[in-house]
C-alpha cells in the first residue's frame, strides 16, 4: 500500500513538472493555430520558424551572446581567482563579499542599473550592451565555481612543480590549470545557461532592433502568440535534453571504465 501511494506521489510530481512541456511539444505539431483543439499532425510551424528571419535572428543572438559571454566571463573570473590566491585572507573575504552581492541582487535592479549606466555613458544599446551585461552577471558565478579548486593543495602542487625545476609558466600550464579545469568548465556551462535563460536584464539592456529568444517570445505574447514559438521552445528543450543525456551517458561510461 505504502509502495503504491509512493508511486502515485511520484507520478503526480512528474505530471506537474513535465505535463506543461509535453503540452507545448504536442501543440507545436498541431495543424491548427488553436491552443485547445487538435486538428492533425503537421510540421508547418517548424517550417515557419526556419523561414522567419526574426526568429532565426533571435536564436543566433541568444546562443552567440551566451557563448561569448560565457567565454569572456570564464577568462575574467579565472584570472580573478588566480589573483585572489596571492592575497591575504582578509582581502579575499572582502572581495568575495562584493562578488556575492550581484548574485543575491534582484535581476530587475541589475537590469535597470545597467540600463541607466549605458544611458549615462551614452552607449548605444544593442548587441554589445547585452553581451556586456551578460558578462557582468556571469563573472560572480565563474569565480564561485573556480575558487574552491584554487586551494592550499593547488599551492602545494605548484610548489612541487617548481621544486622539480619547472618555470612558473610551465607549472601553471601543466599543473595548476588542469587542477582548475573542472571548476572552469562548470563556470563556463553555468554562465552559458544563465545567459540563455536571462530575460529581465536582456530586456532592459537591449536596443530597439534586437531580440533574443526570451525577449522575442515576450514581445509576441502581446500581439498573440504563434505556434512557431512552440516549435522554437520544443527545439530548445530537445537540445538541452540531448546535451544532458550525452553528458550523463559519458559520465556513467567513465565510471564503468574506472570500476573495471
Amino acid at each position: 500500500m505504502k509502495k503504491v501511494l509512493g508511486r502515485i506521489y511520484i507520478l503526480i510530481i512528474m505530471l506537474f513538472l513535465y505535463l506543461p512541456i509535453l503540452t507545448l511539444i504536442v501543440l507545436s505539431f498541431n495543424e491548427a493555430k488553436s491552443m485547445s483543439v487538435w486538428t492533425g499532425f503537421s510540421l508547418k510551424w517548424y517550417e515557419e520558424l526556419f523561414r522567419s528571419k526574426i526568429m532565426m535572428g533571435a536564436i543566433v543572438n541568444t546562443f552567440s551572446i551566451a557563448v561569448l559571454a560565457a567565454l569572456i566571463a570564464t577568462v575574467v573570473g579565472t584570472l580573478a581567482v588566480i589573483g585572489m590566491s596571492a592575497m591575504k585572507q582578509r582581502q579575499v573575504n572582502v572581495l568575495m563579499g562584493f562578488n556575492n552581492i550581484p548574485m543575491l541582487n534582484a535581476d530587475i535592479v541589475t537590469g535597470i542599473a545597467l540600463m541607466l549606466f549605458f544611458l549615462m555613458v551614452g552607449m548605444p544599446r544593442g548587441y554589445i550592451t547585452i553581451l556586456f551585461s551578460h558578462v557582468t552577471f556571469c563573472i560572480p558565478y565563474v569565480i564561485l565555481s573556480v575558487k574552491p579548486r584554487m586551494n592550499k593543495n593547488t599551492d602545494r602542487l605548484f610548489e612541487a612543480a617548481l621544486d622539480l625545476g619547472a618555470s612558473e609558466r610551465y607549472a601553471f600550464r601543466r599543473i595548476v590549470l588542469p587542477e582548475l579545469r573542472p571548476g572552469i568548465m562548470s563556470g563556463f556551462l553555468l554562465s552559458f545557461t544563465m545567459s540563455v535563460d536571462d530575460f529581465i536584464i536582456t530586456y532592459f539592456t537591449r536596443g530597439a532592433g534586437i531580440n533574443t529568444i526570451s525577449t522575442l517570445i515576450y514581445s509576441q505574447v502581446k500581439v498573440g502568440i504563434r505556434p512557431s514559438l512552440f516549435a522554437l521552445s520544443t527545439l530548445v528543450f530537445a537540445a538541452a535534453l540531448i546535451v544532458l543525456l550525452t553528458v550523463n551517458l559519458r559520465q556513467s561510461r567513465a565510471d564503468k571504465a574506472l570500476a573495471a
Binding site: 602545494r156 612541487a160 617548481l162 621544486d163 622539480l164 625545476g165 619547472a166 599543473i175
Partner: protein, 361 residues
C-alpha cells in the same frame, strides 16, 4: 666529505610572529640530518627556506660554498618530498616521476629507463601506469620519493614524509629511508616531530624550539647529554629536577646528596643551582634502605617490554618515573640508586630567550 649546506643567522617572521630567531646550521655532504621539534618550532620554515619557497628576512643560505639566498626554487639543486606528497593527481605514476625530466627535455628513452630505475628503487616495479588515487598512503609516499630522486639532487629535503602513515608502516619506511639514502649516497635533511624517527635514522639531530636551535649532535649525545630541560623532556621520558651543587661532583636534590661526574671543570662549581636529568631506565631498584634514596610505588603500568612505575619520595615532594624489567607491586617500599655517570647536570635557564642565546655562542 665537506660542508654542503650552511645557514647563517636566518631570521624570518610572518606578519607579527617571529618564527626563526637566528638559525645557524651546517649540513655535511652525505649526512642524514634531522630537524626535530614540536609543531610551530620553525623547522618547516627552515626547510622551506632551503628549498627556496620562503625568503629569509635576514641571513644567508649557502650551498656548496655558493650563496643561493636569492636563487629561485626551480634552479636550486635540491628536491623536496612534501608532507602530503603533492603528487600531481591528473597524471599517472610514470608521468609524475617523469615531470622533472620532461621539464628539462630529456630524451624519452632516458626518461623511460629512469622511471623503471626509480620504481625499482622504491620497490614499486610496474606501477608506471597506475593512477595516483589508486595508491595507498605508503605507495604515494614512495612515489613522491621516486619523483624527487630522478632529478638527481645532491640534497633531498623531507618534510615529515611519514607523518600520514600508520605506526607499522612508519617503522617499515624508516628502514627503507635509511637503505635508500645508502644506495643513493646523497644528503638527507629530514623534518619530524617524532623523536623516535629522529633517533633511529639520523647521523645528526638538530633539536629546535621557539625559533632557536636548542642542541645539535649525534642521537646518542642528544639522548644522553641533553643541554637543557626542553631537550631532555622532548627526547624520551625523563625525570627533570631542580638541584644545587653542594660540592665538587656532588649535587643535592630534595635534601639528598647524589654523587655525579660534573664539577667546576664542566662549569658547575659548588653553590650553582642546576637542572638535573635522570632517565627512568637509569634508576635501579634496591631493597628498602639499601639505595641512595627511598620511596613508595604509587602506580604501575605494563608497557610491553618493561614496567613503568611512579615512585613517591618519602617526604612526598617528588614523584620519580621508573622503568624496570622486574615487576614490583603498588604500595611496595623500595630503595633506589643512580650511577654517577647517569646523572646529567644542566645549566638552569634564566629565561627561554636567554638560554637560547647562550646556545648560539
Amino acid at each position: 666529505m665537506g660542508e654542503l649546506i650552511r645557514l647563517e643567522g636566518i631570521v624570518k617572521s610572518f606578519d607579527d610572529t617571529v618564527v626563526l630567531k637566528g638559525i645557524d646550521l651546517s649540513v655535511e655532504e652525505n649526512e642524514f640530518v634531522t630537524l626535530l621539534g614540536p609543531s610551530g618550532c620553525g623547522k618547516t620554515t627552515t626547510l622551506r627556506i632551503i628549498g627556496g619557497f620562503v625568503r629569509p628576512d635576514e641571513g644567508r643560505v649557502f650551498f656548496d660554498g655558493k650563496d643561493i639566498t636569492d636563487m629561485p626554487a626551480n634552479q636550486r639543486p635540491v628536491n623536496t618530498v612534501f608532507q602530503n606528497y603533492a603528487l600531481f593527481p591528473h597524471m599517472n605514476v610514470g608521468e609524475n616521476i617523469a615531470f622533472s625530466m620532461r621539464v628539462k627535455n630529456k630524451p624519452e628513452a632516458y626518461i623511460k629507463d629512469k622511471i623503471k630505475y626509480a620504481l625499482k628503487l622504491v620497490n614499486l616495479d610496474g606501477f608506471e601506469s597506475r593512477r595516483i588515487d589508486q595508491l595507498s598512503g605508503g605507495q604515494q609516499q614512495r612515489i613522491a620519493m621516486a619523483r624527487a630522486i630522478v632529478n638527481e639532487p645532491r640534497v633531498l629535503l623531507l618534510d615529515e614524509p611519514l607523518g600520514a602513515l600508520d605506526l607499522k608502516l612508519r617503522q617499515e619506511m624508516q628502514y627503507e629511508l635509511v637503505r635508500l639514502k645508502k644506495e643513493l649516497g646523497i644528503t638527507f635533511l629530514y623534518i619530524t616531530h617524532d623523536q623516535e624517527e629522529a633517533l633511529t635514522m639520523s647521523d645528526k639531530v638538530v633539536v629546535m624550539n621557539e625559533g632557536y636551535i636548542q642542541q645539535e649532535g649525534s642521537p646518542e649525545e642528544i639522548y644522553d647529554e641533553p643541554v637543557n630541560a626542553f631537550v631532555a623532556d622532548f627526547i624520551g621520558d625523563s625525570n627533570i629536577l631542580s638541584g644545587l651543587m653542594v660540592d665538587e661532583k656532588l649535587v643535592r636534590i630534595n635534601d639528598i646528596d647524589y654523587p655525579c661526574i660534573d664539577g667546576s671543570e664542566q662549569g658547575f662549581p659548588p653553590r650553582t643551582p642546576v637542572d638535573v636529568v635522570i632517565r627512568p631506565e637509569d634508576i635501579e631498584i634496591k631493597p628498602y634502605g639499601k639505595g641512595l634514596f627511598n620511596g613508595t610505588i604509587i602506580s604501575k603500568l605494563f608497557i610491553g617490554v618493561h614496567y613503568e612505575m611512579l615512585v613517591q619520595s618519602e617526604d612526598g615532594e617528588i614523584e620519580w618515573l621508573l622503568q624496570n624489567y622486574d615487576q614490583h607491586d603498588v604500595g611496595e617500599k623500595i630503595g633506589m640508586y643512580v650511577r654517577p655517570e647517569n646523572i646529567q647536570i644542566m645549566q638552569k635557564p634564566k629565561s627561554e630567550a636567554e638560554s637560547a642565546i647562550e646556545l648560539d655562542i
